[in-house]
Point group: C2
Chain length 523, copies 2
């Protein structure tokens, strides 16, 4: 940002909240212009009520003033074709999803729901797009009542097949007509009726519907989408097997390159991984920018290598690679950490501590009604015993051929993001790490699915849950300090490697390099 | 309770809150009489504001109507002598504690604090009483300003020595004059000044001071008292060594009795334990009613045996004993579970799972800034893996020759009671359990002290903490399923037993039965 701007990162200790900032900066009785499509109704409400004693108010603008300045130099919005996702991948028809949603609306005693999150619209309609990099969504809104359903999208993005697919359940209207329609709908319902909107829905939508008409709540689609059905779960398994083959090919290739003395930048290497993935069945793109990082860059948690300037991968440094793919049958997200030379003792020690945390989550059995906030510390215990820790959460939900990060659950230290109870069918990442600033970074990430777990007892009739890992990629034995592992942890590692070999090796018949690498790494 | 009463346990799912109940039962604009000494100002505030829309109000009564009905048949209040606690036990003089408190008041920009919790008054004054069974406190209030301090107590309870001890720092006034004095003090300060009261202080105190004059907050004395100084910590260690000797004597005696076919009720056994404790140096009484329970009674978490009707201890049932003593140098609270015959497999399995949870807490290392809410699940993990759990917290704070349960911290599943960060110097119990209704109960409880822990690294410059156990009593090997324990857990158990033997055996020279029992149980 140039010197015209001051960056104030929300949530950091010495950074004022919006409220505090406005109180300090503004004269009383101020009018604060705001683009209502860029703030949630919930945040706007809280801002409004804290501005009241100050006599100040938010003024919703019809046009965004920054957009006006930007003018015609602004790149056009991406409007790529929208394609149907077959029920053999989604596992549940739009018709059934609509029925479930309407049952929820009846239970909640609301007349309708405005669906505004792009991944929720895509999930509900069993459609996918590519308007936003890595996230297979498209620009759309939906309005679902007890007996009608309307979708607002750009006509240019849908062909006749998609229209036909949609028209059994939805009326299709122009994207641009949504606010006018919401206004009309809001004023058409009786005083006793109300419209549900999710807690991330924009102020613009709430205003259009009429504030007295809306009920803001956690979206029932967020909850339904988070619990994968059996077809989606099987898709997660299958897509991760294929993804594991690409990972084996890539890491085997990379090792050979470095052994041969090749000069490879982080970005060039990432491109090779993308190339391997792109050859896989049902591949639809990457699920996020690959984090391909050597040495100190691995300690930058959200690093992404710039093709122009990024570092050359060094054989005598830790290499951390966090990557993922989008497939018709699932979304992957996997991190592995390697050393192609001779690792230092402290690198092995930290890696082993991270691995112990990873295993502690993977093997955990817990009762229904347990949140990710409660179990996060299992991932940290081994690190803590060495005075180590990491400054990110342990896990995030993962969409099914949708956003690689999705709510409402997670595993982590911030209660607001991790208080949702883990339920059977949820997908979540298991990714403890350790980062030595300026030196190296370590992260080990598998995707796991929450599954019912059979226990010899069932105290409190709660039902017990466990995790099934679907990510299949060797965990670098060279970086494991065996003396630190318990017997149970060694058993786990051997069993995991056996499983990886059995599931991945059949896909590597045409890549002897990868196959022998896999054999060695899982031995 | 007889049929005139309906019991409504607060917090249970189908039980209405006070608010809900009042809303349902009352006509609008009702006047609800309340004894303001029996409700906290905080609860009263929340009740008042939720009654407002209903037009109803709380009316503070000068006299308690139930007391009036009770009349002269009511037993007199216990008013036992108040005695000083030497600084060689308390570790910090009243003068120094007052100085710390005044520093806190200055930091908080308040003029004074009304000290209303009995254990806080006792701690601040370095005095102890016995007006309430098991809790070495006495009826008193204190009012501390930046340059004066007044204590309100019954003159009959203090002799000249105590008066002298007190009068260096405090003005002594009659207990009955406190509310009049608070009223006067509240009206004597300026509009800009305010008086701190703890969040458990009664409505009566807040009203007397004037609601517009008080600031309700967590009491700084609660926080200071929770962090034991080095003298108190050494006292905890020493009192637990002596306490451990009495436990060894008692359990050895009990085993012999049962082996000899003696008929002993739970209560008779408990009396014997009290007799052993009463012979120890610095003994001042029990810290709570001994839970001495055989078989199914052990599954009743807060069981206490009725001398008239309680069960006979059976050799072929699990025996659970939770007990503790008050000593001038510390307070103890210990639970052990035994089987004097041949335990069943499921009893051993459950005992071992509980033990694993106990060890998981005992050996935990964690960074500063960690709450007991976050670490509670370490105590449950082993149980969870068998589909077992327990319906109580894992740990509570422990006073120093004060209440055996004290805040503000704890280890448990209810966030409101366990969100305080654990800090070096805090004492807390480690007491996972398992209860099979109608069959048996298991609990293993040690008191641990939070201590700085040296780690090879110090990530984030947070500082790391660990636990030091002070309770010294064998953990019943007969109930341990060795196959279930990890190597590390076996090592822990052996080291713990070695420590118990080394520290306790010197005190058992005159009790060969106890000594040989200790030798066997710690082998």
């Amino acid at each position: 940002m140039d010197s015209n701007w001051t960056l104030m990162k929300q949530g950091l200790p010495d950074v004022p909240t919006w409220q505090e900032y406005l109180y300090k900066k503004l004269e009383k009785n101020a009018r604060i212009g705001i683009d209502p499509t860029l703030i949630s109704a919930l945040d706007a409400n809280s801002l409004k009520s804290s501005l009241k004693p100050h006599g100040s108010q938010l003024v919703e603008l019809d046009t965004n003033l920054v957009d006006q300045v930007w003018g015609s130099s602004r790149p056009a919005r991406t409007l790529n074709p929208i394609v149907p996702l077959d029920v053999k991948f989604s596992g549940r028809s739009t018709e059934d999803k609509l029925k479930d949603l309407r049952d929820e609306l009846k239970k909640k005693k609301v007349t309708a729901m405005a669906v505004t999150m792009l991944d929720e619209v895509a999930w509900l309609l069993n459609l996918r797009g590519s308007d936003i990099d890595f996230n297979p969504v498209f620009f759309a809104y939906a309005l679902v009542t007890l007996d009608s359903a309307t979708v607002y999208l750009n006509d240019s993005q849908v062909d006749d097949t998609v229209k036909k697919h949609l028209e059994t359940n939805f009326v299709i209207k122009a994207y641009d007509s949504v606010f006018e329609d919401l206004k009309q709908f809001g004023s058409s319902i009786t005083q006793k009726e109300s419209i549900l909107i999710g807690n991330k829905t924009s102020l613009a939508v709430a205003s259009a519907l009429g504030f007295e008409k809306v009920v803001i709540n956690r979206s029932p689609i967020t909850d339904a989408k988070a619990i994968k059905n059996s077809v989606e779960i099987e898709g997660f398994r299958q897509s991760h097997i294929r993804d594991g083959a690409a990972l084996a090919q890539y890491f085997a290739w990379l090792e050979e390159q470095l052994n041969d003395g090749a000069t490879l930048t982080e970005s060039q290497a990432a491109d090779k991984l993308a190339e391997y993935r792109s050859k896989l069945d049902l591949f639809k793109g990457l699920s996020f920018t690959t984090i391909s990082s050597t040495g100190p860059n691995g300690a930058i948690i959200h690093y992404s290598p710039d093709p122009e300037t990024c570092a050359v991968i060094k054989k005598d440094q830790i290499y951390l690679c966090d990557s993922g793919g989008q497939y018709l049958d699932g979304t992957t997200d996997v991190t592995r950490t390697w050393h192609f030379g001779t690792p230092r003792a402290k690198e092995k020690r930290a890696f082993t501590r991270v691995l112990q945390g990873h295993i502690a989550i993977d093997t955990l059995v817990f009762p229904e009604g347990t949140s990710g906030y409660i179990i996060d510390s299992f991932a940290r215990r081994a690190l803590w015993s060495d005075g180590l820790d990491y400054r990110h959460g342990t896990g995030h939900g993962v969409g099914h051929f949708l956003n690689v990060h999705e709510g409402p659950h997670g595993i982590g230290t911030r209660i607001a993001f991790n208080e949702t109870f883990l339920q059977a069918g949820m997908t979540v990442s298991n990714e403890p790490g350790y980062y030595a600033d300026g030196d190296f970074g370590i992260r080990l990430e598998n995707i796991v699915i929450v599954r019912p777990h059979k226990t010899p007892n069932n105290f409190g009739d709660k039902g017990y849950l466990g995790f099934e890992h679907v990510t299949l990629c060797p965990i670098h034995r060279k970086l494991v300090d065996l003396e630190v592992l318990t017997t149970q942890e060694r058993v786990w590692l051997n069993a995991y490697h056996k499983e990886v070999f059995e599931k991945i090796s059949p896909l590597l018949k045409n890549d002897p390099r990868a196959l022998s690498w896999l054999e060695r790494e899982t031995a």
